[in-house]
Subunit: 320 residues, 2 copies
């Protein structure tokens, strides 16, 4: 950021804030190192905060280039709404950044249910895992050259056209293929476990019911570098999906219906009519630790002084 | 087999046995539909028996063309020893057959430990699964064209040169890639489960210990269309491997030491010095249902009349 800092210094008026040290206090309300993009949100927040403090004259896409160096997917978190991470063509990665595909207001009906899955074993970090995949997977280059560019175009079109069926098909196929190249790594990387597999089987069967009745796909699963499922669906299907997940994964705590899909009633386990219940077994309480129902959000925001994490003397209000 | 039958009829002397109906009785001592090639052994035995009965003037490779139509991998089971299934180039598959790479006597030191793994869910049959992979996996064609031919040559060379390290590396990489294209199928196919994953982690760690000490790979895992592991290793490592598997997968029944690697003592659980025990958790009794220690075998054999499965009246001695 040397060049940017020099830019700022020119503009600095009364006193050079760019010469002062900074105290940084970070708080993340998402599970850490669980494959839920906690490092992405953290690095995006760090870069966006510093850019706001120094009033850097840069776009979110330019900032995404910097955030990406902390955690690849952090580049996407500089935006709200629907975001594409452009692969770029340069060897040094300087044209690999994020761009907005559509703002959050474009498709408010898109909801997500995050199933936080327990895992016994310490996972592989997504950054070191992907480096090993690049070095050893014979399938990865074919995926990068022949498959991903087409899918990027197709899913951007699906988002622009609010075509959930196409969005779902591509999302699931690409989640599968990402985990396929992880398996094609030496030694192989497994992020999904038996619980993840069971959730896939439930969504496949849930979609089959609709497709065989002449309808379209009603939900899509996707897995990042961990066993947790993110299930995307139009809001109208979310009640059925939560009921289905509760039927196979009993929960310790009551479902928090923050988006009011149960109309004030308590969420109960239920399976849709005609659903082949044998596609998965029922798991014990705790196999899915918690359910988070969320929607497409916005990007980094500057909060007011009353929400600061620092005390007036510049030290953190709470220490971890 | 019409043409072959006509051949035989010409030769038929005293009476035309090729005009007589046959009673076929089949018995298989391997678990059925568990991804342990039970259908391969059954179809190979059927084809080999009929060929022997009719004294068909054909080679095992020619018979493998017929056996392959019952179950793809049956073509390999017409031989003993080390066998390659040639992909062939014709669209009708008439040049896709098996050839011997080396007889069993070539590498008697090659042993195998089969870990029979429990699975809750009814699996996908390997034949229908592979058809769906052919139709939907974007990675499969790349695997077939760019990866498999090189690996077939390399592993044949490894077998001819009795190079266990190369054999192990290729075997594990190709098992991983087969399961990767299964995952890249729509909807995805999972044959391995958490127990399979744990066995992979154990073998990876067991090899890491040896490699980091400047040695070579000491074992190789491979998984067919099911969760069961087949662990290949030189005989001298089998004691350590059985002990390691027993440490993570306690057994109901005592290990049957048919190849005398424990020198008369009972097999006990043990982990090699320096082994990182955290790579997997210990499972409950029954997660691995049984262990079968075996070696490279021979092909189909014609047994004596005292081993027939039929009574003198032509009906089966026992009915399933």
């Amino acid at each position: 950021m040397k060049r940017l800092r020099a830019e700022v210094e020119k503009k600095d008026g009364e006193f050079k804030i760019s010469h002062l040290p900074v105290h940084i206090c970070s708080y993340n309300n998402f599970p850490t190192a669980a494959g839920l993009a906690s490092s992405a949100s953290g690095f995006a927040a760090l870069v966006a905060s510093l850019a706001a403090l120094y009033k850097l004259p840069v776009s979110p896409s330019q900032l995404s280039l910097i955030a990406r160096q902390g955690s690849g997917s952090a580049c996407r978190s500089l935006f709200g709404g629907f975001v594409a991470w452009e692969m770029g063509t340069k060897a040094d990665g300087t044209d690999s950044y994020a761009v907005e595909v559509a703002p959050r207001e474009h498709w408010p009906d898109m909801h997500a249910l995050i199933c936080v899955v327990s895992d016994d074993k310490k996972g592989t970090s997504s950054t070191s895992g992907m480096q090993r995949t690049v070095e050893t997977s014979p399938l990865l280059q074919h995926r990068i050259k022949e498959v991903v560019p087409q899918r990027m175009n197709a899913i951007s079109e699906a988002i622009k056209g609010r075509d959930f069926d196409a969005f779902a098909r591509i999302t699931m196929a690409d989640s599968n293929q990402f985990h396929a190249v992880c398996l094609d790594t030496e030694p192989p990387i497994f992020y999904m476990n038996d619980v993840s597999r069971a959730i896939i089987a439930l969504i496949v069967e849930y979609n089959r019911l609709s497709l065989e009745a002449g309808g379209k796909r009603k939900a899509a699963y996707t897995y990042d570098a961990g066993p947790n499922a993110v299930i995307y669906a139009p809001k109208e299907n979310m009640k059925e999906i939560v009921q289905l997940i509760l039927a196979y994964f009993p929960q310790k705590e009551a479902f928090k219906d923050v988006n009011a899909v149960f109309g004030g009633e308590a969420a109960k386990a239920a399976v849709p009519t005609g659903f082949n219940e044998a596609v998965a077994k029922q798991f014990e309480v705790g196999a899915v630790k918690s359910l988070i129902h969320t929607r497409v959000g916005d990007g980094p925001r500057v909060l007011g002084e009353d929400e600061t994490l620092l005390r007036p003397d510049g030290l953190p209000k709470t220490l971890a």
